[in-house]
Amino acid sequence: MLGCGFTADTEPEDRLTPVPGVALKKTALNAIHRAAGARMVEFGGWEMPVEYSGIVQEHLAVRTAAGLFDVSHMGEIEVKGPQAVTLLQYVTSNDVTRLRVSQAQYSALMHPSGGVVDDCLVHQLGNDHYFLCVNAANTDRDFDWIVQYRRGRAEATEVRNVSEQYSQIALQGPRAAAILSRVTDVNLAELKYYWFRQARCCGVEGLLARTGYTGEDGFEFYFPPAESARVWEQLLEAGRPEGLIPCGLGARNTLRLEAAYPLYGHELDEETTLLEAGLGWICKLEKGDFLGRNVLIEQQQRGVRKRLVGFEMLDRAIARDGYPVWVDGEAVGRVTSGSYAPFLKKNIGLAYVPPGAAAPGREVQIEIRGRRAAARQVALPFYKRART
């Protein structure tokens, strides 16, 4: 048996090959994860739980009840002061002026090439005051990137990497609101999707957002790391009668894949534009100049080089990241994420193919260990929850 490690959804540089002498970062909940018997792996420079009771069980809990995730590895960057809007309008693709205080938006930190430095959530804390949640492995680079574009544009704007001041726990699933209502005074019915507020949960003050990365209703709570054990344990306790279980990054990945949410380093990178990734809805080309905008405008007029598509395997096989995609006898694309989908009970994946080959219903072949297996393109997302 080879390759028993957690390899399929990590970037080459993220794999279980820690650089000698560089210690992995640990979240405040590391000892609790270990004591609970979670399997720990390296991810984005952090030692993180990949699974507790098993990816399938955790995945199904989130789809049918609720799951609790330690996502404290995620980075947080604050942007504050005059010209904060100018700066964010220039470095991100979405339009921050569409935000109101206490509202969040999905966006991307842009590269002049039209590619993506990172994808992120932008929260508006107040006037000229924003809070970005970014990917763990990219945090330092994102911070330097934003600071670099302050020059001559927003020099009075303060940019701070505040990642060490926050733990982040995600409570996700159809029972999430019912569970959370037991440990907070916030009227959750008034907290809409992609809005947030200062809130006390489990006796701890923090930022409570109705956001997530699973395709379910849910919340993400940002709070001081010293309170991590209290929040984690009280939430698990409050949720036990509802079927809440702790979940790892393995289920987080299969959940986001069913929902067709992109993962940086897989569907997104500096060589891929948002239009190619199917994220035209966060490209606000009319808002004024921003990094990579001219490339996006050109692609909008002349067309993209590749297109992200979803597929289901027809043959009995699982596609994995990096496998070649064949169309009409030619290897023309590559799988960016592929897995067994525990809720859909199908083998699914995302891949880039030439624009001319992208069409739901059309068959492609995935090259798996030297053999080509049939797959059919399907419309995205693979899974969409019924909204109530």
Binding site: Q57, A317, I318
Partner: protein
């Protein structure tokens, strides 16, 4: 965890020999390292397998792993249940979830395999249990 009457490889396969027929599977330790197993690819009866060579693939949600044969021989039976119920490999790796039965070419080949005690000692001694030397199986 690892039954006495089986012999074991460093790649975490087991074999139970009965006359000139060997039944082959993956160990309790291997399935635990892999996590939820969702896919199994096996040879057909009549195919030949060679000692230390890959004969099949086991995939969990997260990982792809090749399975290596402890012995050389001809495949005489394949556990077809695993096609529809790969999760048996998690629940009963040393019993219901055997992978293939092989007619051994050379019974002496099993002399180099580990006993259950030796395998347990090997697991304790190796820091990264089921991680092999190669990377062929890694997606």
């Amino acid at each position: 965890m690892h039954p006495e009457e089986f012999l074991y490889t460093k790649d975490h396969e087991w074999i139970r020999v009965d006359g000139d027929i060997g039944t082959i599977g993956i160990t309790y330790h291997a399935q635990k390292e892999l996590g939820d197993i969702v896919f199994v690819e096996l040879p057909k009866p009549g195919d030949h397998v060679a000692a230390k060579e890959a004969f099949g693939t086991v995939e969990s949600v997260k990982a792809v792993s090749e399975v290596y044969s402890p012995v050389t021989g001809e495949v005489v039976a394949v556990n077809s249940k695993l096609q529809t119920a790969p999760e048996l490999l998690n629940s009963d790796p040393h019993g219901e979830a055997w992978l293939i039965r092989v007619r051994l070419t050379d019974r002496k080949e099993v002399e180099n395999l580990m006993s259950a005690d030796e395998y347990e000692a090997y697991l304790k001694g190796s820091t990264s249990g089921a991680e092999g030397a190669g990377s062929k199986g890694q997606a």
